[in-house]
Amino acid sequence: MVSAFVAAIRVTGHRSINAVWRTGMATRFFFLTLMYSGNSFRRFHLIVKELFSTGVLSLIIIVVAGLFVGMVLGLQGYETLRRYGSESALGSMVALSLVRELGPVVAALLFASRAGSAMTAEIGLMRATEQISAMEMMAVNPIARIVAPRFWAGVISMPLLAALFSAVGVFGGYFVGVIQIGVDEGSFWSQMQAAVDFRDDILNGVIKSFVFGTVVTIIALFEGYDAPPTAEGVSGATTRTVVTSSLAILMLDFVLTAIMFRGN
């Protein structure tokens, strides 16, 4: 009984120490990435190349998901607002939900599962096949050459993808609310225009997606860089990227929302 209790404490302690150690390593990795980012901006084509794989290749999933989320918002919003005779506020409801909350969060979750997991798997495999060691032996810093361009590509593409998600979502809501159900088109757009504030809503949404992009990308890169050089190691790192990123997005969303919209 006592030995089982001691073993449980030992396991908990070991896991806690490991978690703190990994957090410290990830933080150090983040600052090293910032420190060695100069080369990426001097050779901007390295970032552009990564923008294609992280941003452009994520477009389809973002557009399709945004459209359906907007359509669902249009349907659910109409059903709820109709009870209070406020169907005309559908446009503002759809837009505010997307710009403030769903756009940054859902786009970041999709970004983590598509681009984040791909980044982890790619860098993990580079580690497993000694490509990173080869680069180090060629006197080329892998953090400057491999990690930093991918990091900035993630940071740049995330707000753009979230903006696209919200824009397509608004059209999804318009399609269902105005074209299918028959809400007045003028009220839909004018209520939206009146309710959505650039600084309080759009800018805060952009800040959220920027923070999510930074966190998701650095988690994905760290997990790949730190992955054990085996098939099992890379697959485990890929899973950890998606799980950790998703939890981080949801927790940070709460914190940022509390800071940004408290009292509004």
Partner: protein, 242 residues
């Protein structure tokens, strides 16, 4: 262990004896707990980050499976160091890359991706990449592993010719006794991290040391155990005595 300038030295020994670890110490990837590695008069583990990277620019290393960058073409792999470390114009890099690829007989593969190459071809491209900046020290980690007989002879010949053409020093880590004895100037045998025998290829062939004899002739019986230490075989199979 010394590696004189212009010489091709082989390091041999069973798997896990410390050959690759030695290469990692020379490249400064690992730091020794005791002793030191001196390259060109500088002690490697005492160099700071910038000095170590400057030293590595004078080194070339061929990894066991090539370690080609899989997101780059053959051409870009060979051009990689030239673009990273020099400010040479692209047309000059083009000529240099083609010369390096021609030296390993693969000029025609410049547009291929690493996934389109056979194991032997990938090794030769990696060889061209390792000598892209004409290093003073070239290290090869098992360059003959998994090669067919023709590729093996070609790669062995290339290792020797590149060493002589560049006037470089070459450290060759290998299991392939017969191929390496044809091309090297000197051999070190390692066991559990220490040198157990050394000599020229002629001395190694004529050696009567049991260790060297067993290794060179690939004999099962001798001082080098084939079996990893384990429990009683009968007991493991649940067999009763008698």
């Amino acid at each position: 262990m010394t590696f004189p300038k212009g010489k091709l030295i082989a390091i041999m020994g069973l798997s896990g004896c410390g050959k690759t670890t030695l290469l990692r110490h020379i490249g400064g990837v690992l730091k020794p707990t005791k002793g030191y590695v001196k390259v060109g008069g500088q002690i490697i583990h005492e160099l700071d980050h910038d000095a170590l990277y400057a030293m590595r620019r004078k080194m070339g290393m061929l990894f066991q499976f090539g370690a080609l960058f899989t997101d780059m073409s053959v051409y870009d792999n060979v051009a990689f160091q030239m673009r990273e470390h020099t400010s040479l114009p692209e047309d000059l890099i083009h000529d240099l890359v083609l010369m390096k690829l021609h030296a390993v007989g693969l000029r025609g593969t410049q547009h291929l991706m690493p996934s389109e190459l056979s194991g032997g071809m990938a090794r030769r491209v990696a060889l061209a990449r390792a000598v892209a900046l004409d290093p003073m020290l070239i290290m090869y980690d098992e360059p003959f592993a998994g090669l067919d007989p023709i590729s093996l002879t070609v790669v062995g010949d290339l290792v020797r010719r590149l060493n002589d053409a560049l006037g470089a020093t070459t450290v060759l880590v290998t299991h392939d006794v017969q191929e390496s004895l044809k091309i090297v100037d000197y051999v070190y045998f390692m066991e559990n991290g220490v040198i157990v025998a050394e000599g020229t290829p002629e001395e190694i062939r004529a050696s009567d040391k049991a260790f060297v004899h067993q290794f060179v002739h690939g004999e099962m019986d001798g001082p080098l155990p084939f079996h990893y230490p384990g429990g009683d075989y009968r007991q493991d199979l649940n067999l009763r005595a008698g």
